[in-house]
C-alpha cells in the first residue's frame, strides 16, 4: 500500500476500514456456515433426525448463506465505489497540479507518458484498490480467524494449517520472486516478439523496395518458434509455483482428512467436529490463491500510484504568486534585471544575467542558436515561472508580487504549434473572450485571414473540430490562434516564430495578418528568420542563456558579433554568390 495514498486520500482510509470489516465479518460467517452445516449433517447422519427436526437449523443456514451473499455484494460494490472516488479526486488534483505547474514542467516531461498516467494510470488504480487491497485484508483476516477456530476445536488440524501458513507465503515469495522475474522475462520476450512483428509490418514498404517482403513470413514464423521455445523453457519453472501452491493446499486438505478420519474411527473425535473442519479447510486456502491472481491485477496500479504522486509533487511554477494588478499595462515597460533561470533538476542554468527593457510599444526580436534560452525567456515573460535569480518587473511591480493569472489576461502568446481544443470553431475562438459577439468573432477571423476557410467548413464556425484540431493544416491552426489574438486584443504580444513550420507561400500571407496585429502593441518575438528580425525595432541576440547583443537590426548587421555570425553561418556553396542573393531576397520581402 502506497503510504501517501493512505495518508492523503480520505476515501482510501474509508476503503481500508470497509475491507477490514468485510474480512472479519466474512471470517465469522464462514465459520458460522460450517458449524451449522456440520451440525445438520451430523444430526441427520449420526443422530438419525428427520428433515422436520432440523428444519429450523436449515433456515439458519440459509440465512447465513444470504448474509454472506449480501456481504459480498456490499463489499464489492463499496470498495469499487470508493476506488472510483479515489480516482475522481486524484484526476482533479492531477489536473489542477498540471495547470499550476504550467508548460515549463509539462514540456520537460514525456507528454505521452503524462497522458498515459492521467488516463490509464488512474484506471489501473481500480483493480489495485478494489481488488488487490481488499484481498490483502481478507487474506490477513479470514485464514487467521479460521486458524483460531480450528485450534479451539482440534489442535492437530490447527497445527497442520499452522505449519502450512508460513509455508504458503514463503513459497509464494520464494517461487513468486523467481516466477515473477521469469514471468516478467516471458512478457518481455513476448512483447519483444510483438515489437518485431510491428517492426516488420512498419518496414514492409522498405522490404518491398528491396525485394525482400515475400520471404518475411518465414522469418516471422522462425522468430516466433524460437521465442516460444525459450519462453516455454522459462515457463516450466514459473509454473512450478502454481504446482507447489496447489500441492500445499490439496495435500494439507488430504492430511487433515486422513488425520481426523483416523481419530473418528475409535471415537476420539465426534463426526460433527470432523466434518466442520473438513468444510473449513478449503476456505482457509482460498484467500491465498485469490491473492496470487489479484496481485497481478494490482501490479500496474501500484506503479501508477508512484508516478501519480510524483506528478502531484510537481513544482507549481505557473501558479499566481502575488496579488498586485498595476494599472495601465500598455504604458509600463517590462524590465529585466539580471534574470536567471534554472530548470529544476538541471545543472546548467537556461538563462543567466539577462538585463534589458522592453519599452511600451516597442517590438523586440530575440535571435540565437537553439538552446540559447529564447523560449525560456518568453516563458518567464508569460509568467509560466518566476526567475530563479534576478527579477522581471512590469514597471515597478516585480513579477513575484504580480497576480500572474491576471497578467496573462493582458498578454497574448503565439506559439509554433497552437493547440486547438475539441469543440466548435466558435468555441475555440471564444476561449479568448467569452463575451465576444458573433460579429466580433467574425471580424477577428477575418483579420486573421481565417474567415475564408472557416466559412468553407461543412457547418461553418459551428463545425466541430477534433482533439488537437485534427484535419486542420498547420497554417489553418495558426490562423485560428491569430484570430484568438485579435479577439483577446491584449496590449502585449509574445510570439515564438509562429510561421516557422509553414511553407513560404502561406508564411508570406500570414505575415501580412501578423504585421497588423503587432502594430501599436508591445511585442517580443523569437525570430528564426532574418526577415522576421528585420521587421522589429530591436534585436536581442542570445547565446548560452546570455544576452550578447542589443540593437537595431540594420545596425547589428554592420558590426561584428553574434548577430552577424548567425546570418553568415548559413553557408551555401561559396560560388553561389550568397550575399548577393541574400540581399536581393531581403529587399523583396
Amino acid at each position: 500500500m502506497n503510504p501517501r495514498l493512505l495518508k492523503e486520500v480520505k476515501s482510501v482510509q474509508t476503503l481500508l476500514g470497509l475491507v477490514i470489516l468485510q474480512g472479519v465479518l466474512s471470517g465469522i460467517l464462514i465459520i458460522a456456515q460450517a458449524s451449522v452445516l456440520a451440525l445438520i449433517v451430523s444430526r441427520v447422519f449420526i443422530g438419525h433426525q428427520t428433515l422436520a427436526s432440523v428444519q429450523h437449523l436449515l433456515w439458519v443456514l440459509l440465512a447465513i448463506i444470504v448474509a454472506r451473499a449480501v456481504l459480498t455484494w456490499l463489499g464489492e460494490t463499496g470498495s469499487l465505489a470508493l476506488a472510483t472516488r479515489v480516482q475522481s479526486s486524484l484526476r482533479m488534483r492531477l489536473t489542477q497540479r498540471l495547470l499550476n505547474a504550467g508548460p515549463l514542467y509539462v514540456h520537460a516531461q514525456k507528454t505521452g507518458e503524462l497522458v498515459n498516467t492521467l488516463i490509464q494510470g488512474i484506471e489501473d488504480l481500480e483493480p489495485y484498490l478494489a481488488r488487490y487491497v481488499p484481498q490483502i485484508a481478507i487474506t490477513a483476516l479470514v485464514p487467521t480467524i479460521i486458524l483460531v477456530e480450528a485450534f479451539s476445536r482440534d489442535w492437530i488440524t490447527g497445527l497442520i494449517l499452522l505449519i502450512t501458513v508460513p509455508l504458503i507465503p514463503f513459497f509464494m515469495i520464494l517461487i513468486g520472486r523467481q516466477a515473477e522475474s521469469s514471468t516478467k522475462r516471458q512478457w518481455e520476450t513476448l512483447s519483444r516478439l510483438s515489437a518485431h512483428f510491428l517492426d516488420v509490418l512498419q518496414g514492409l514498404t522498405t522490404l518491398k523496395l528491396l525485394g525482400q517482403s515475400a520471404g518475411q513470413a518465414r522469418g516471422i514464423e522462425r522468430a516466433s518458434d524460437e521465442f516460444r521455445r525459450a519462453t516455454m523453457a522459462s515457463l516450466r519453472i514459473a509454473f512450478v509455483s502454481a504446482l507447489v501452491l496447489e500441492l500445499l493446499a490439496s495435500l494439507s486438505m488430504a492430511m487433515v482428512a486422513v488425520a481426523i478420519g483416523l481419530r473418528v474411527i475409535p471415537g476420539r473425535m465426534p463426526f460433527e467436529t470432523a466434518f466442520f473442519l473438513l468444510v473449513l479447510v478449503p476456505d482457509f486456502y482460498l484467500p491465498w490463491r485469490m491473492l496470487g491472481t489479484r496481485f497481478h491485477d494490482g501490479l500496474n496500479g501500484m506503479e501508477a500510484a508512484k508516478r501519480i504522486f510524483e506528478i502531484l509533487d510537481a513544482p507549481e511554477l505557473a501558479k499566481a504568486g502575488g496579488t498586485m494588478r498595476p494599472a495601465a499595462v500598455d504604458a509600463q515597460p517590462i524590465v529585466l534585471n539580471r534574470v536567471g533561470f534554472q530548470y529544476p533538476g538541471r545543472s546548467e542554468p537556461a538563462l543567466q544575467g539577462v538585463s534589458a527593457v522592453v519599452k511600451p510599444g516597442e517590438r523586440v526580436a530575440v535571435v540565437g542558436p537553439s538552446g540559447a534560452g529564447k523560449s525560456t525567456l518568453l516563458a518567464l515573460l508569460m509568467g509560466f515561472a518566476v526567475p530563479t535569480s534576478g527579477t522581471i518587473a512590469l514597471g515597478d511591480t516585480p513579477f513575484t508580487s504580480l497576480d500572474l493569472a491576471w497578467w496573462r489576461q493582458h498578454v497574448m502568446y503565439l506559439t509554433q504549434n497552437p493547440y486547438i481544443f475539441a469543440g466548435t470553431v466558435a468555441d475555440n475562438l471564444r476561449m479568448a473572450r467569452w463575451d465576444a459577439t458573433d460579429a466580433e468573432i467574425r471580424r477577428a477571423a477575418e483579420r486573421a485571414g481565417a474567415w475564408e476557410y472557416i466559412a468553407a467548413l461543412p457547418q461553418g464556425w459551428q463545425t466541430v473540430l477534433g482533439e488537437g484540431g485534427t484535419g486542420l493544416s498547420g497554417g489553418q491552426k495558426q490562423r485560428l490562434a491569430l484570430a484568438r489574438a485579435y479577439l483577446k486584443d491584449a496590449p502585449v504580444i509574445f510570439m515564438d516564430e509562429p510561421t516557422a513550420n509553414l511553407d513560404p507561400e502561406t508564411e508570406a500571407e500570414l505575415w501580412g495578418h501578423l504585421e497588423a496585429l503587432l502594430t501599436g502593441r508591445t511585442a517580443v518575438v523569437v525570430a528564426h528568420r532574418l526577415s522576421t528580425a528585420r521587421r522589429m525595432d530591436v534585436v536581442w541576440a542570445m547565446n548560452h542563456g546570455q544576452l550578447e547583443q542589443v540593437g537595431a537590426p540594420r545596425e547589428l548587421e554592420r558590426v561584428p558579433g553574434l548577430y552577424r555570425e548567425l546570418i553568415q553561418a548559413y553557408a551555401p556553396l561559396p560560388e553561389e554568390g550568397h550575399y548577393a542573393s541574400l540581399h536581393r531576397a531581403a529587399e523583396t520581402l
Binding site: 449433517v41 469499487l80 509539462v106 514492409l204 525485394g211 490439496s250 488430504a254 478420519g261 551555401p572
Partner: protein, 584 residues
C-alpha cells in the same frame, strides 16, 4: 471466426491434451472433497477394521497429489498451444497484409493502424485459453460431476445442473446484458474525459495563455462526476452479480442438503453419502468459474477480430504487369524515364496528387525534383517503384510501359531512398545486407564510404555489428538516411530515386555526399527529390512541381533567372537563419 480456429488444427492433439488436463484439475478437487467426506463419514460408522478405509484414504492421497500435477500440465500445455496460435496468427496476418501495404492502407494512419493490428493479434491469441477452453472444460467436468451426482440421486443431479447453468451461463449473460447500455455510456463518458485530460497536457500553454484554468477544471469536474456516476452504477451491478454467484454456490449446497436429508429419511440415500453430496456440490462450482471471464473475453476477441478483418479483407491492388526485365530489354544499363500526363491519387475520393505530370529524363541524367510541400514529390517515388499504381497517362522506361513490368522485378530496376526509410531493429550489417544478401565485405566498405558512414562505423566499438535500435533510433535522422543510402548503393539498380536524402546533414557532409554519390551514380538515371534548393546547380536539370504539375523545368541557373516559384522558394530558404536549417 472459423479461419482463425482453423489455425489451431495442426496442434489439435495438444489442444486435446490441454483440455483433458484442465478438466482433470477440476475433477481432482471434486474427487478430493468427495473422498475426504466419504472417509470421515465412513470412519464415523466405526468400522471394525481400518482396512475398510483403505480405499478412501488412497483416494484422498491420490487426488490431493494429482491436482497440482494436473494444474501444472494444464498450464504448460495450454500456454504452448497459445504461443503456437500466436505464431500462426502473425504469419496469417502478415501474408494478408503484405500485398496491401502501402497502396491499400493509405486511408488509415498506418503507424497507428499497424500497432493496432499487432495488439489485436495479441488479443486473438487468447482465442484458445480465454474463449474456447473454458466452456469445453466446464462442459466436460460438469458431465462427470453430474454423472457422479446422478449415481447418488437423479433429483440431486438435476438440481445441481440447474444451479451450474445459472452460475455459469445465465447470470454472466444477464449481468452483461444489463450492463450493456451502461457500459457503452461509460465508455463514452470515459472518451470525453480522456479528451479533456489530454487537453490539460497538450493544450497546457494555450489554457494558461487564454486564462481558461478555472473553466477547464469546472468542465473536467462535470465530466469526472458523469463518469463516476456511470461507473458506480456498473459497480453496483458487478457487486450484485458477485453476490449472486456466491449465493448460487452455497444455495445449491443448501438445496441439495435439504433434498438429501429428505432422501436419507425416506431411505433413498445411504446416510453415509449425505456429507459426500454436500461437499461434492460445494467443490463442483469450480467447473464453471472460468465461464464469466470467457463471456467478457468474447467481446474483446470479436472486436479485435472485426478490426483485423476490416483491414486484411481488402482486395489487394492489381499489378498485372507480366514482363520480366529481360523480356523488356532492360539489361541493367541506365534507361530513360518518361512521364506523360501521369495522374495518380491515393483514393478515388481524394484530389489528384499527380495531375498530368509530364517530364523526361534521359539515360544517365541526374534530375532534381523540387516544389512546395504537398506538390507530389514524394508520391513520384512510390509510383515509379510500383508501390502505387498510376491511374492515367504513361510512364515509359526506355519506351516500355512501367505497368507492364512485373512488380517483383522492381527492386532490380529502381532503388529508392524514401523520405522515412525504415531501419529494422537488428544490427547495422543486417540492415545493409537486406538490399543484397550476397554483398562482399569490399562492396559493403565501398557503400559505407560513398554514404559518408565510414568514419562513423569505425568509431563504433561494435562496428557493423552495432544494433540500430527500434526504428534505428540509436542513430540520428541524418545517419539513418545515410544507412538507407548505403543500402541502395548495395542494391545497385539502374534507376535511383533519392527522397530528401540529405535531410539532417550539415552543409559540409552534404556537399561531400552529393559529390561521391554523383560520381558513383554517373552511369545511372537519378531523380533527386529535395526541398533544399541552394545546391542544385550540379544537377543536369531541375523539375519544379506544384500541385502535381510541372510548373518549371530547366537547369537551376536558368530557373534562378526566371524569378518564378523556384526562385521565390530559394529566397525564402536563404532567409532562414542557419541554426534552423534542419527544422524548417
Amino acid at each position: 471466426m472459423r479461419h482463425y480456429t482453423a489455425l489451431l488444427k495442426p496442434y489439435r492433439w495438444w489442444v486435446v491434451l490441454a483440455l483433458l488436463m484442465a478438466t482433470l484439475t477440476v475433477l481432482a478437487n471434486v474427487g478430493l472433497m468427495s473422498t475426504s467426506a466419504y472417509l470421515i463419514a465412513r470412519a464415523a460408522q466405526h468400522p471394525y477394521t481400518i482396512l475398510l478405509l483403505w480405499v478412501p484414504i488412497v483416494g484422498v492421497r491420490f487426488f490431493g497429489t494429482s491436482r497440482g500435477v494436473f494444474r501444472y500440465l494444464d498450464r504448460y500445455v495450454s500456454h504452448n498451444v497459445t504461443f503456437q496460435l500466436l505464431k500462426e496468427l502473425r504469419v496469417y496476418v502478415y501474408r494478408k497484409l503484405e500485398p496491401l501495404i502501402p497502396s491499400r492502407l493509405q486511408a488509415f494512419h498506418t503507424g497507428d493502424l499497424l500497432s493496432r493490428v499487432v495488439s489485436d493479434v495479441d488479443t486473438l491469441q487468447n482465442l484458445y485459453l480465454g474463449l474456447y477452453a473454458p466452456p469445453i472444460v466446464a462442459l466436460l467436468s460438469t458431465i462427470v460431476i453430474l454423472g457422479l451426482m446422478a449415481y447418488f440421486g437423479v433429483a440431486l443431479a438435476l438440481v445441481l445442473a440447474v444451479f451450474l447453468v445459472l452460475a455459469g451461463v445465465v447470470v454472466p449473460v444477464l449481468s452483461q446484458w444489463s450492463a450493456g447500455g451502461l457500459t457503452a455510456r461509460m465508455v463514452q463518458a470515459r472518451g470525453e474525459l480522456s479528451t479533456e485530460l489530454v487537453e490539460t497536457i497538450h493544450g497546457n500553454t494555450d489554457l494558461l495563455v487564454l486564462g481558461q484554468e478555472a473553466r477547464h477544471l469546472e468542465k473536467l469536474g462535470a465530466l469526472v462526476r458523469a463518469w463516476a456516476l456511470r461507473r458506480i452504477r456498473l459497480h453496483w451491478l458487478a457487486g450484485l452479480s458477485a453476490g449472486i454467484m456466491q449465493a448460487l454456490n452455497n444455495g445449491a449446497m443448501w438445496l441439495i442438503l435439504v433434498l438429501g436429508i429428505g432422501m436419507v429419511t425416506r431411505g433413498a440415500l445411504p446416510p453415509v453419502l449425505l456429507p459426500v453430496v454436500v461437499l461434492l456440490t460445494l467443490a463442483s462450482f469450480e467447473a464453471v468459474n472460468a465461464l464469466p471471464p470467457a463471456f467478457q473475453m468474447r467481446g474483446q476477441i470479436s472486436a479485435a477480430r472485426t478490426r483485423i478483418n476490416e483491414i486484411v479483407d481488402q482486395t489487394p491492388p492489381m499489378f498485372a504487369g507480366q514482363k520480366t526485365l529481360e523480356a523488356a530489354g532492360l539489361d541493367g544499363k541506365a534507361p530513360a524515364v518518361q512521364l506523360h500526363d501521369v495522374r495518380f491519387r491515393y483514393h478515388s475520393t481524394t484530389p489528384w496528387v499527380l495531375d498530368k505530370t509530364s517530364f523526361d529524363v534521359l539515360p544517365m541524367q541526374h534530375v532534381a525534383v523540387v516544389g512546395p510541400s504537398g506538390a507530389g514529390k514524394s508520391t513520384l517515388s512510390g509510383v515509379l517503384s510500383q508501390l502505387w499504381p498510376y491511374e492515367e497517362g504513361h510512364i515509359l522506361i526506355n519506351g516500355v510501359e512501367l505497368s507492364d513490368l512485373r512488380v517483383d522485378a522492381m527492386p532490380h530496376l529502381i532503388g529508392v531512398v524514401d523520405q522515412e526509410p525504415h531501419l529494422f531493429d537488428t544490427t547495422l550489417r543486417e540492415n545493409l545486407l537486406l538490399a543484397n544478401p550476397s554483398a562482399t565485405p569490399t562492396q559493403l566498405q565501398e557503400a559505407l564510404r560513398i554514404a559518408q558512414l565510414e568514419s562513423l562505423v569505425n568509431e563504433l566499438p561494435d562496428g557493423l555489428e552495432t544494433p540500430v535500435g527500434e526504428h534505428g533510433f540509436n542513430f540520428s535522422g541524418g545517419e539513418r538516411k545515410r544507412v538507407a543510402i548505403a543500402r541502395v548503393i548495395l542494391q545497385n539498380a539502374p534507376i535511383l530515386v533519392f527522397d530528401e536524402a540529405t535531410e539532417g546533414l550539415d552543409a559540409l557532409t552534404e556537399r561531400r555526399l552529393i559529390q561521391e554519390l554523383r560520381q558513383w551514380a554517373k552511369n545511372k538515371t537519378v531523380l533527386w527529390i529535395t526541398h533544399r534548393l541552394v545546391n542544385l546547380d550540379v544537377m543536369d536539370q531541375v523539375v519544379v512541381l506544384a500541385q502535381g504539375r510541372v510548373v518549371e523545368q530547366g537547369p537551376a541557373e536558368t530557373l534562378g533567372r526566371q524569378r518564378g516559384l523556384f526562385q521565390r522558394m530559394r529566397e525564402s530558404e536563404i532567409q532562414t537563419f542557419a541554426w534552423n536549417a534542419d527544422a524548417v
